[in-house]
Symmetry: C2
Subunit: 371 residues, 2 copies
């Protein structure tokens, strides 16, 4: 970026959002959910930005998902009053949850054991209680095919009515992130949805009406429709990243986030640059780099009119990280345009942690976005 651009004022690692692409990603997911009659409750952990969350409101979204009580507090402070915390109920945070409920927030909480239901009941918190279901990811949740366990949990929740309301079955099929193709994502997604339906059927036999809520961006992006799914909670879909591009669940011109990194060193003997943008900013979440090595990001170049960016060609990748240093490697033609003092734009391997770490957003026009 030798010429003047709207990003020239950037001095430190900064998140640059292509607002047009991000809003298009939002509109597309909202339309797909609407076509299936599915509630769209986006996860805001990907950006944790109040201003970006307001873009969801513009397409009719009135409920969000977060992954921590502190994130719920942040967004409740901006007027969101229907928030699912897609992280297991933590009894130690009962006081903070009681305060949110007292402030008028409709809380969705997730539980996967009778012990957790008992502790939630004892806390006195009024909430929609979802059963966290393990549909194949094996992180948290009661096994989808544990019919006895699922019915016991729903029964325990019902016994705490009306303070607890049984909301349904919720899962995060996070194993789609390990898939290496769109077809593989779809296979995992369909197996996960099928497992959720079996759990739903077990509850139906026991007299429970159990809506289904699913979460992951790879599955939500790859699926053509959400028939029979009551709610989706994707987060990453709004910004996307190198992992999703490589998996084939998004197109190059869907990539809506890049990290602007100042170039501070050039090492032509080893085909590398060093930028300010290290593990403290990009995180060690990795995609596939040259020769099967991990890549923490890939360089993009601004279009001539500065209205968007495209993948650099020949490609250059962030192949090494220290806390503040990023090492960018690539052929000379990719690196020569970036002298010391210039900015390199990097699409991160995974948008979520990069956003959570840096917290300073601007649009391609150089306008700040509220975090």
């Amino acid at each position: 970026m030798g010429r003047m651009t709207a990003l020239d004022g950037i001095t430190r690692p900064t998140l640059v959002v292509d607002r047009a692409r991000a809003q298009r990603n939002v509109a597309r997911m909202a339309a797909k959910a609407a076509a299936s009659g599915t509630r769209f409750r986006p996860h805001v952990k990907t950006h944790q930005s109040l201003e970006m969350a307001s873009w969801y409101r513009e397409v009719g979204v009135d409920a969000i998902t977060v992954s921590s009580v502190s994130m719920a507090e942040q967004f409740a402070g901006d007027g969101w009053d229907d928030i699912t915390i897609a992280f297991p109920f933590n009894p130690r945070e009962a006081a903070a949850l009681l305060a949110l409920a007292a402030a008028g927030v409709r809380l969705g909480l997730i539980v996967d054991s009778l012990d957790a239901v008992r502790q939630l009941d004892a806390s006195g918190i009024a909430a929609d209680a979802w059963i966290d279901v393990d549909a194949g990811y094996h992180r948290t949740g009661v096994a989808a095919d544990d019919a006895t366990g699922v019915v016991e949990l729903a029964t325990a929740i019902r016994s705490a009515a009306p303070r607890l309301r049984f909301a349904g079955l919720l899962t995060h099929a996070g194993h789609t992130y390990a898939a290496r193709s769109r077809d593989e994502v779809l296979r995992i997604h369909e197996a996960s949805v099928a497992a959720m339906r079996r759990a739903q059927a077990s509850l139906g036999t026991a007299g429970f009406d159990a809506p289904i809520s699913i979460g992951d961006t790879p599955g939500c992006n790859a699926a053509d429709a959400f028939d029979g799914i009551d709610e989706i909670r994707p987060g990453n879909f709004v910004l996307l990243d190198l992992q999703q591009l490589q998996t084939g669940t998004c197109a190059e011109d869907d990539l809506a986030l890049a990290v602007a990194c100042p170039v501070v060193g050039r090492y032509p003997d080893r085909d590398s640059l060093v930028v300010h943008g290290g593990s403290a900013q990009l995180s060690r979440d990795a995609a596939d780099g040259p020769g099967g090595q991990p890549a923490y990001g890939r360089v993009v170049e601004l279009d001539d009119a500065d209205t968007g960016w495209h993948l650099g060609d020949p490609p250059a990748y962030v192949t090494g990280l220290a806390q503040e240093h990023g090492t960018v490697t690539g052929p000379r033609a990719a690196l020569d345009r970036h002298p010391v003092g210039s900015l390199v734009l990097v699409v991160p391997a995974h948008a979520c942690l990069a956003s959570a770490s840096i917290r300073t957003f601007v649009t391609l026009d150089g306008e700040p976005l509220d975090a």
Copy 2:
């Protein structure tokens, strides 16, 4: 931790510092430096805590190292007025550096190219200018054996006197972090110091007096003395972590940092717990876990009197991370003492990023420490 402890008020992932151990680690490094007549300029990126940095003042330290201009601003705001920024000079941050210098901060800056020296000279910043030397890590720096390059850089810096003052040769032998034993650390350390001496000799021949500054904790912990080294800049040494314990450059009772993580799920069928404490808190920096898998931390247990902690036996490790979730695996005897709602204390694989991410410190007595 079934009984009452000073940590009972913790509700979210929190950094717990064993102050007695940390202060002993500081005193030990200060004494070793003093015995060699070596300046001790600790790196504060490990904790970025103003209160912990004040412990350095208590042993006579009056100068620190940071890894970013924003960190320099934070510590200058607390009265530190001699700060080396051990990250390549970023011309885009010239205005912030000029402001620090104008506020009376003696700045140390590092450069490794004639281009960087020219841009630093043009910026008008008054600073101690160090030549960043590559003594084997191959991240940044002019090659230690590039005598021509080293002399050219020193000459260029001298030509910008008196605003720039040639400070000497600085390196970070970060490749000691990849070593797997104390002996291997020492071999790397000694080779790195020898390379620095060769660069020093090249400069001596050209009439330059060039002090040597070295950085890494593994080397500084493993070495018995710092003869002929003018300055050390270790950072991690104050808190230490699982990586350093496994490498053999610290003892178990030197470990001064643990992350308190609330337990939110129990999965006996797969020998695991899930805690609040994921990649957003612990980072994906890894040590060696069971069976050669990565471990992001290891569980420690409080001593009976709550005056310290010890490695859990049988061992349990953090073997999986999502953004907010940590999966702790281990034998039943290690996990059974940790019900949902309790706290697990985890020594992180790498203290620096965990501290940089969480930012909320308490001592073992439950007293907050200023970040």
